[in-house]
Symmetry: C2
Subunit: 126 residues, 2 copies
DNA sequence: TCCTCTATTGGAATTGATCCAGTAGTATGT
DNA sequence: ACATACTACTGGATCAATTCCAATAGAGGA
């Protein structure tokens, strides 16, 4: 049985790009391309680097929502880069994400309990 | 600041309907409407009951993938109900989901570490 | 008869994500 | 001078998933 193309093999946890960006930006302001490389290093995206275009779109969307603000940075050589920084709203959003992710973890634990309840499967669940 | 419509308020953990259905069906075969009420009781979907149409579509999709099989049940009074039961492939899928959900939990923990790293926020993280 | 609850289905519209192509500046090698 | 590669961003088209909405239909009660 091959579940490579089934969601049970783990491709449904997208939409967490936003908190990853918020967390990365909370360290220091940065531009899209750098953020792309930065989040690629996170084990979170291991093997599944987010689409570059999608990352830029996410940043633009976040700016529309007031979570970040941007300005052109022409100081470095090379093409102009748009520098993104967290707004206070973005910081608040990050704090909300902490609560939400904790809820997610509980919900996942709940599902795991359901799924493993009547299937001991030779290992004692701690 | 109002994040009701922001993904940070927790509406992105959909796509976990499938493991919820697999877990519920592993208890006993059931039909769509009953499954709907059953998963509504799970704290997992608290306040956000999955769309009925979407649940039926998910079941149909799962049958196409061979995870469940169905038959009409005319024994009870009222409209005919389509009874779904897990196939062995569906059981295997559930086992795969266990691994995937454990990975999800680790990834969420990783994100939480990132988000809370430099923001102690008056509470010591255990 | 009319309403409500059970039970399922299908189409339309919306949203989100990905794919792909294009533009542009700089640096390096030949 | 020219080709190439890397940095950096953008926009359109497409594809998949989700939700919204309307319809059908049996059974039971007021």
């Amino acid at each position: 049985m091959d579940f490579e193309h089934c969601s049970c093999s783990g491709k449904s946890l997208n939409r967490l790009l936003q908190p990853a960006l918020l967390a990365t930006l909370s360290e220091k302001p940065s531009h899209g391309y750098a953020l792309l490389q930065r989040v690629c290093e996170l084990e979170f995206f291991a093997g599944a680097p987010p689409d570059a275009s999608g990352l830029y779109k996410a940043l633009k969307e976040m700016e529309l929502e007031g979570l970040v603000f941007s300005s052109w940075d022409l100081s470095a050589s090379g093409p102009a880069r748009r520098l993104y920084a967290l707004s206070s709203s973005g910081e608040a959003c990050g704090r909300q994400w902490v609560k939400t992710l904790e809820t997610y973890r509980e919900q996942i634990d709940g599902l795991l309990d359901l799924l493993t309840k009547d299937k001991p499967k030779a290992s004692t669940r701690s």
